[in-house]
């Protein structure tokens, strides 16, 4: 076999093009965001920016509502992450360690909600938010996502796997349940909490359906909603659209790369073992 004589594994010959196939659209996105509109409209297209043009970024950041949308997305995501960390921890700890009437029934009901598709509940959720006077405000985007059944499930699985001894010792020393949770359990549960935070951030930041339904005035748009509208209105401003696309994706990319190892491990372990 001639392949054997290669100075590297022959698998690179398959895997490198494959990985490039997945990466190419993203690389292209990144490159075009630094081109001028003139270069983008050239035919045939060129791959490398002829100079480092920041006109696209300049356009989205100085014109229109783009920075506002970015801020809206950040507020909604931060609220969802903070509230999920608190509420899911509390509930998951109760389900993992405390015995109380109805725990199995409530936990079971929560798990069943995981198969309820959003498009079934979105029309009444819109009506509920309208009754609460929250429609077309960031509140409408925050309230339904304050806590998630999957988050509770994820944390409960993790809490159950922790050794009980430390907690019991603290209980004997007279610590309340809440103190035990905050002082002992949560510091041990850092990987699970990181995963929950990243997952919540990704879901909320990336969502398009619910903001599309709940928000009508453009100053309350999230980034995803703004981006799709922006693209419709600025068909010829490709550099700006691509710059907007980069700015929309960058936060989740950073969050993912920072937490990659923990995130993939806990996500897959709940799929593989759950």
């Amino acid at each position: 076999m001639t392949l054997r004589r290669l100075p590297f594994s022959p698998w690179h010959l398959v895997l490198a093009p494959l990985a490039l196939l997945f990466a190419a659209p993203l690389i292209w996105l990144f490159l075009t965001s630094f081109m001028s509109n003139a270069q983008i409209n050239q035919f045939p297209p060129t791959i490398i920016p002829d100079a480092l043009h920041l006109t696209g970024y300049d356009y989205v950041l100085s014109n229109g509502l783009f920075p506002r949308w970015f801020l809206n997305s950040a507020i909604v995501s931060a609220a969802a992450v903070a509230s999920n960390l608190v509420l899911c921890s509390l509930a998951a700890y109760a389900f993992a360690r405390m015995r109380f009437r109805g725990s199995n029934v409530v936990f079971g009901l929560m798990l069943t909600t995981l198969v309820i598709p959003f498009q079934l509940t979105m029309i009444p959720t819109f009506l509920i938010m309208k009754e609460l006077g929250l429609i077309d405000s960031l509140g409408a985007l925050i309230v339904p996502g304050l806590v998630s059944a999957f988050g509770i499930f994820l944390l409960r699985q993790f809490f159950v796997s922790l050794p009980r001894e430390l907690e019991e010792a603290a209980r004997i020393d007279g610590c309340s349940r809440l103190t035990v949770l905050v002082k002992i359990v949560l510091p041990l549960a850092r990987p699970a909490l990181t995963t929950l935070a990243v997952l919540t951030f990704l879901t909320v930041w990336n969502d398009l359906t619910w903001p599309l339904i709940a928000i009508s005035s453009d100053e309350n748009y999230t980034l995803q909603l703004g981006l799709t509208t922006f693209q419709g209105q600025h068909r010829t401003e490709w550099a700006a659209v691509m710059a907007g696309d980069v700015l929309t994706t960058l936060p989740v990319l950073i969050a993912f790369l920072l937490a990659q190892r923990t995130f993939i491990q806990s996500l897959t372990s709940s799929a593989v073992k759950g």
Binding site: T32, P45, A94, M98, S103, L109, Q119, I123
Partner: protein
Amino acid sequence: MAAAAPVAPPARRAAAAPAPSWRRRVFGEHPSAWLFILPSTLLILGFNFLPMAWAFLLSLQRSDLVTPAEWIGLDNYRALLRDPTFGDAVQHTLVYTALFVPLSVIGGLAIALMLNRRIRFIGVYRTLVFVPFIMSAAAQGVLFSFILDPQYGLANAALDGVGIARQGFLQDPGQALYVLVGIGLWGGLGFCVIVFLAALQDIPRELLEAASIDGARRWATLRKIVLPSLRPVTIFLLVWQTFQALQLFDLVYATSRGGPLGATTVVVYYVYEQAFQFFHAGYGSAAAYVLALAIFALGGTQLAVRALRRRRAVA
């Protein structure tokens, strides 16, 4: 379900504390637990079961959310059966699902098998394959609208380069749905890959080593040991990807908005149009229920299969 079993306080403890408080008797050993779960319970059940029941009531009404609703029984469902646009939407959803699910699961398995080896840069390869998954459907849609733009797009320029006729892609009614499958695969394969990779790394080394001592050929090891141990995870992925495919919406909204000529109007897009553009809340709810029933049936089947397998494993 053994719902009641762990709840009763142990008898010994009841004897030690002569008069267990009424609260303990009503709420169980740790009544304060309810304070821990109350906010989550109200929010999760309130934003799921209440809307679910409400949607069902809406589906029995003629309702535009403004004028008073009128009860019309199952008329909305009957009308759906005769509505050719809804029929098309169901068909588009089924075509998308029938392509996306097997391609993403089989493709994910193939890629995971290739990535399951210790060579240089393997971490980079894995990350690159997975990264599109974290990009939002909106951002993916905007990016691919650009790449696939019939006039300016890179895709047609590449086709020109190799002498193939230019394509309409998302603007060609005959292609748009298949193009969406392609974009969906680009963004969704990574998830299948990492789940399969995790499962592959869970296969005990001894099992594979034993096979290689027996002189089993690679293909035989794959068929007799690797694939069978991946069965649970494959079933999970098949169900999960089907859920995703049936609920396709964001990508459609960000690229083709159901067009051209309705070619990519999938069921959820149809629900969205009916409810939030034509204000047919009752009719839209009925359409949503039809899809939801399909999803519940699928989820129920999976749970039943799982329970059956567990029982067999115990026996």
